[in-house]
Amino acid sequence: MANNTSNTSAVLDVVVENKEILSILKENKDFDQSSICSGSTYDNSLVQSPSLESFSTIHDIENLSELNMDENSDLCVKIDNPQKHLETLETYITFRITTRVARIEFSDNEYVVRRRYNDFLWLRQKLLECHPFCIIPPLPGKHSLMGQLDRYSKDFILLRMKALNVFITRITQHPILSCNNHFKTFLTAKQSDFNLHRRQKTPVELKVRTLSHANSSHAILKNRHIEFDKIKTYLTTLSEKLSSIEKISSRINKERSEYVTELNSYHPIFTTWATSEPELSELLQNIGNAMERSSAAQNALVQSYNTTVSNPIKDFLTYIDVVQETIRKRESYQYAYEISMEELSKRHSEKDKLLKKVEANQDNLECANESLRSDLQRWQLEKRQCLKKILLDFVNKQINYYQATVNAWEYVTNELNQQNTSVKGNSK
């Protein structure tokens, strides 16, 4: 048993050790690769799956196409099958992660593991440390607006699962991030191995550097970097515009909802009236029905608002925030460089040492600039596709509603036209 010098509480360690013993005992028991059945276990914890049975597979998610999964690429990752785990100290949800890969670095072609939200947090942190000037996609929030109250509600879990899929897909499509070792471990390691890997210490150097630079990010730079400043301004404006669009859409949706209510009081009047008008009965019924169909179609439009517009836009706004943050990180490097330049000009005696420092900082800065620049370029492409998709989804929902309404009223008018032609025929 590894003697942990960790400074975490002894209690926690004991529990973890407990887990490890048991997993060694179960060493020969392979994970059920085709774990469609909910009976699969996650170490020693009690699995409570009956309440989650109903949304066990990814096919229950609306808008599967949202996930942009390209099954033909050389790396494809899918997240589904949430399960609740009851342990002595805590209760938590895990997700099944299925990876299909055709790359040399991976020894197998398919992997199935289970991970929980905290594991995703760890992954993101690692990616940030390894690639400080790549744009690491954001994770869904820890809590919903209701705080911790609805952590286990079906809606919250489904929403989180969808967001995690988006997160993972963005990483798999990133040329640099998808090759990261931690990412590979995350996708492939069995539970016990993964836990070990997680507890590894990160090199102190790397940690310290990112920390200190992060703190100085608010310092004012001597020389503004035009290129990156332009992008910052652009991103701020883009954020504003998307925010406006979401607010407008929300307002329209609210009015539409009231519109549907009024329609539902309106169309029954035609049906009622039809009962006292023998000659007009059919026409009145048709009109009442067409109105009802249109109302139902509009209601579907109203209900789709969150998934089609609100959530995707909010998610993208968080993505923009990440980009802004990454740009600010770069600024801290520039700051360090500028400070060291100042020092150089002030202390001529320690010239050599300081010169080295300046050069080192300059190198760092140049690397940071390059790295960020290239990832921004890549991100711009991704942004375009993402926003295009959001807009198209929004427009398609509108089209569905209007098409249904047109169909409903065409039925009525076709009947009328038929009657007109037959009357004309009779009167000849």
Binding site: I245, E255, S276, L280, L283, A290, Q398, T405
Partner: protein, 358 residues
């Protein structure tokens, strides 16, 4: 009996509006007299009452569409058959009731005899009422339906307007957004313009709809007119009842005077009419009774006349109404289709724009 029922049904078909080809004739209808008849052999002595239905053609241009118009004697059971037929054919109509078949809720003064002249006369009036109260119910129904429709429509129109106008806000934002984008700029600009046009397109549609609403309003007021006609008839009915009651009272008084029963005052003061005075009073009352009976007859004819004219005009109104409302409703349907098509077209154009984003 079956042959009679058949004739009855055939006659009815000419009176009830038929869907497409025949318009209803302009007729006056009245149930004016009654007669007692006997049925079958002398053994059975089955008596029954028949009522005379008179129809008069007031619109000569319909002469050829009618068969021979005759006056017709119908008994109560045949009215029942008519009502059964109507019940089956128009199950959604609230049918007015027929006057009672037997004496219900009777009391001492009211004879149980269905051949009692008073009973028969009341029934005759009741049968005429049958035609007219159907009309009154309809007027109220039409009014309620149109009222509800117009109220609800205006609320719907307001929401439809608001939703469309809000889309103009998109126009501004998309325009500003397109200014900061390179590859997406074009598509976003166009999208903004399309959304603006969507917002402004609703004005024309709702203006057209207001015109249609006016047509519904017209019939709302027609429904009030219809109800007024019924009220007028009711007033005439009351007049008739008053006149009849007057005659009945005079008759009672005459009997009293004849029998020497005098008023309270005279009894108190002990005066008794002489034979001369009595005869004078009786003659006076006879005269009044005669005048009263004439008044009743005149009023009754007036009522009968009114009823048949009213029914005739009501049929005319119904036919016109069907034509007008069918037109208005059809226009409603076409207008909604037009609005929906415009919306669909706009969003399809927006989609095309967005799909051109590289």
């Amino acid at each position: 009996m079956d042959a009679n029922a058949e004739t009855l049904k055939n006659d009815i078909k000419t009176l009830i509006p038929v869907k497409t080809d025949t318009l209803l004739n302009h007729l006056e209808i009245s149930v004016s007299e009654s007669e007692k008849r006997a049925n079958g052999s002398l053994n059975l002595r089955d008596f029954y009452t028949v009522y005379l239905i008179e129809t008069k053609l007031t619109d000569p241009s319909f002469q050829q569409k009618l068969g021979k118009l005759t006056t017709v004697w119908r008994r109560y059971t045949e009215f029942e058959q008519l009502r059964d037929y109507l019940e089956v054919t128009y199950p959604y109509i609230v049918l007015p009731p027929l006057p009672e078949k037997r004496v219900m809720f009777g009391w001492q003064k009211i004879s149980n005899d269905t051949f009692d002249p008073n009973f028969i006369d009341r029934r005759r009036a009741g049968l005429e009422n049958f035609f007219v109260s159907a009309v009154k119910d309809y007027g109220a129904t039409l009014h309620t339906n149109l009222n509800n429709l117009l109220k609800a429509r205006s609320r719907v129109a307001e929401k439809q307007y608001t939703v469309h106008k809000l889309h103009a806000n998109y126009g501004r934002v998309f325009s500003e957004w397109s200014a900061i984008e390179k590859e997406m700029g074009d598509a976003l600009q166009k999208t903004g313009h399309y959304l603006d046009s969507l917002a402004s397109s609703i004005d024309a549609g709702l203006e057209d709809e207001e015109l249609l609403a006016d047509q519904f309003k017209e019939y709302l007021f027609f429904a009030v007119s219809l109800q007024n006609v019924c009220k007028n008839r009711e007033m005439l009915q009351l007049e008739l009842e008053d006149a009849e009651e007057n005659v009945a009272n005079k008759n009672v008084e005459r009997t009293k005077v004849q029998q020497g029963k005098t008023g309270l005052m005279s009894r108190l003061f002990g005066a008794v009419d002489t034979d001369e005075v009595r005869e004078f009073k009786v003659n006076l009352l006879d005269q009044q009774i005669q005048e009263g009976a004439t008044a009743v007859s005149t009023t009754r004819h007036g009522l009968s006349d009114f009823s048949s004219k009213a029914l005739g005009d009501i049929e005319r109104f119904q036919n016109q109404k069907v034509l007008d409302l069918r037109d208005t409703l059809a226009s409603c349907a076409f207008l909604q289709l037009k609005i929906a098509r415009k919306g669909l077209q706009t969003w399809l154009q927006i989609r095309d724009c967005l799909q051109n984003i590289p």
